[in-house]
Amino acid sequence: MSTTAVPDVAVAPVDEGFWTRTRKVGVVLLALGLLATVLFGALATGEQARFTLSEDAAGAALEVNGTVGAIVFGLITLAAGGAMLARLPKRWFMPLLAVGLVAFVLSFLCWQVSAAPAGQNFMPLVNIVRGTFLLALPLIFGSLAGVLCERSGVVNVAIEGQLLMGAFSGALFGSISGSVWVGLLAAAIGGSFISLLLAVFSIRYLVDQVVMGIVLNLLALGITGFLYERLMQTDPTRYNSAPRFSNWEIPLLSDIPVLGPALFRGNIFLYLALLLVLVIHIALFRTRWGLRTRSVGEHPTAADTLGVKVLGLRYRNVIMAGAVAGIGGASYTLALFSFTKNMIGGKGFIALAALIFGRWSPTGALLAALFFGFADQLATYLGAINSIIPGQFLAMLPYLATILAVAGLVGRVRAPAADGKPYIKG
């Protein structure tokens, strides 16, 4: 694969000389650690910061003195940064980075929780974890749709449109039929409708895939907004009152502290999302279909030579991706809210960010989606305790993280080689 990097236009010269990636990241960690130790330590109060294992202030809790916690975790980040500068073997890079960042977040939380108004110096972990998964749900579905598309060489910027169309058709047909399952099916079909357009225009008519994705997002926004105003707003009981999936509790597993209530008392979409991550991961890396998909995404000519039907496979994968994203959209309208105009509101683009941040792999996408979901949930929590950190800045976090990731500051991000290139059989 070394040759494929050559045609790239402005690939940065690989870090040479003194400032290797490890050194850069080490310095960043040192700075973060210093910030945490000094600033967070100074701003934190002597109150106990309690991280309760329940939904409220009661019950068992992990407690730490605010100032002490902020300083100790800050020092851990400092140590991780220092260790990184001390030329440890390469395999230590990721663990050190993880430890450093997690400690930084914990230091931040110690400060925030201890500085909260009196009586609110606690953070209910169950709520946080549950909220994280809930907010990450559409992101997981969306980024899985991205994985399916882009691994086979079609850039999917239309995730937003697919989610929106799924949410809309799920709500519409769920309401008309009165059945959640019909709604779910309709959502999958709605999502794949947008993806079918993407497939036809980018594969058959060779329209630039990013252009097509952007246009399709606008099309989905227009169509759903139009039909929402014409149908759903005029007769909401008939067109916009879809039945909802209830929560299914899995016995035994749901009794695990913190994770149990968050993970095993969810609705079908939560289970479906986790299952899909597993299935797509296995399918992509362990089956014949997966091998073919990846080869079509990396080097379609070679795949074609070996008898893989490049275009057919791309069509199939893109349409499947639409169905996955459509179901993701329904995780709003068939479980939480009724449909409103532009209700996805940019989640599709965060899903795209999660896909890139997760380096085009299903598990990476899951982790990235959870991270973004956590940032989102944290913003809500900090708003509730009147933090001085504006929620908008936390909301920016996923986007900033993605920019840092693609700029090569946190490891190299490499897309499938043929991603976005139309295949013309010649």
Partner: protein, 452 residues
């Protein structure tokens, strides 16, 4: 390892396969020479198709190409197709009319008449709201549709030019939305925070808008140049960052309107507002004149200046440009700064013009995303972009009237706009539907299929 070669070759030849790319640089060199002493000719030559190749008389050309898959016919038919799909949407979303289709075999006239009334009324209002209303009695009422169209057109010209300029340099600027957002923020801040005399105040506010956009364009530009980070990803991310920044900023002390509790900022001073063109009753403002000037400037920049030549060379083939001694990285940064400044100017009009005078979270609407459509519809050529923006402005203005008179939601306009661009992006489809004669149809010059 010789295998990979045919594939990239064929994909490169696909989008730009009309044979013009090799020709363009040659004629450009001559063009830059002549431009040194003669700027008047620049205006005549800004329609590139006319300037670049000798052709038979216009009349003959017109007849020959009338039903061929040329740019104009494809655009017009795309508009027709989009309106047909729009009509279908209107019909299926109207329960009364839809009910008549239940007995269409028994009495087809009901269904046909009902559908026709619904659709024709809606589109008539679209026309009356954007071009001319035959029922107008006063001069103001007669001019009003045009004035509305021009008001919506002006910012779209800027964002369209922003996207088109980047396209020509081989970059996809999805960030026009974010750049326009930063533009509107700085323009508004300059508009109500700086106590300056009239005239100067307006100038400063407009330039502040351009600066905001330029900074927001510089970031993806420098990241692309230095690290190779794909501008599509970064501009998408920056779009959202700017939106959150705006929503945060609006409610800060000194920015938020002191008399309001909701998210709205103070109003821009009168001294920083763009003067109106046709008196107080009509909304058209000087922005449209600025837009025309900007179109001319971008056309000049692209076709007559050294920078424009480098820009197009980099867009056509960065490796060749580098071999020829051009700095590809510097060009990337400059392209994004210019594109950002243009989008910022477009954004500044949303608060200095007549559409609004204060910042709200949705102050710039969709002008950045619409700019992408405008650039594509205008075939990424400056004057084409201006015309495309005029069409989109007209759709927007007419859509308002369609909404209030026919009760057809404004969202239909978004659908129409997206559909038009989908059809023009796939001329082969339009050609197949209408059985057009093959012609040297100008394919979209967006040879960007490079992936991330």
């Amino acid at each position: 390892m010789t295998n990979p070669n045919p594939e990239p070759d064929s994909s490169a030849a696909g989008p730009a396969g009309t044979g013009s790319p090799d020709k363009a640089p040659a004629s450009e060199e001559q063009a830059t020479e002549t431009a040194i002493g003669n700027t008047e000719r620049a205006e005549a030559a800004t329609t590139p198709s006319a300037a670049q190749e000798p052709r038979p008389t216009l009349g003959r050309l017109f007849l020959e190409n009338l039903w061929a898959a040329n740019t104009f016919t494809v655009t017009l038919l795309s508009l027709v197709l989009a309106m047909i799909v729009g009509a279908v949407l209107m019909i299926v979303s109207d329960p009364d009319v839809l009910a008549t289709y239940a007995y269409i075999t028994a009495r087809p006239s009901d269904a046909i008449n009902g559908s026709w009334t619904l659709v024709s009324e809606a589109y008539a209002n679209l026309f009356k709201g954007s071009v001319f209303d035959p029922g107008a009695t006063t001069l103001n009422a007669a001019l009003s549709p045009i004035s509305e169209t021009l008001t919506y057109t002006a910012p779209l010209v800027f964002t369209g030019l922003s996207v088109a300029l980047a396209f020509r340099g081989g970059l996809f600027n999805i960030g026009a939305q974010g750049q326009a957002t930063m533009g509107v923020i700085l323009a508004a801040l300059a508009g109500f925070l700086l106590p300056l005399p009239p005239g100067l105040h307006l100038l400063v506010a407009v330039l502040a808008g351009a600066l905001g956009g330029a900074v927001w364009g510089f970031i993806p530009g420098i990241l692309k140049a230095r690290t190779g980070a794909h501008e599509v990803i970064n501009t998408i991310m920056l779009n959202y960052i700017s939106v959150y920044f705006l929503t945060w900023l609006i409610v800060q002390n000194g920015v938020q309107d002191p008399n309001r509790t909701d998210a709205i900022s103070r109003s821009v001073d009168a001294s920083a507002q763009l003067p109106r063109l046709f008196g107080d009753g009509l909304r058209a403002h000087v922005g449209i004149i600025l837009a025309v000037l900007a179109t001319w400037a971008v056309a000049w920049l692209l076709n007559r200046s050294t920078l424009g030549f480098e820009l197009r060379a980099v867009g056509a083939n960065p490796d060749a440009a580098r071999t020829a001694g051009m700095s590809v990285t510097r060009t990337y940064v400059l392209i994004m700064v210019f594109a950002g400044a243009l989008a910022g100017l477009g954004g500044s009009q949303m608060v200095l013009g007549t559409t609004a005078a204060a910042l709200t979270p949705l102050v710039i609407a969709q002008i950045g995303f619409d700019g992408i459509l405008v650039a594509l519809l205008g075939r990424v050529k400056p004057w084409g972009v201006a015309l495309a923006a005029l069409l989109f402005g007209a759709l927007q203005a007419g859509g308002n009237r369609m909404q209030s008179y026919s009760g057809i939601s404004l969202e239909l306009v978004t659908v129409l706009q997206a559909l038009i661009v989908i059809f023009i992006a796939a001329p082969a489809l339009v050609k197949a539907i209408f059985q057009l004669r093959a012609a040297r149809a100008a394919r979209l010059q967006t040879s960007l299929a490079k992936g991330w």
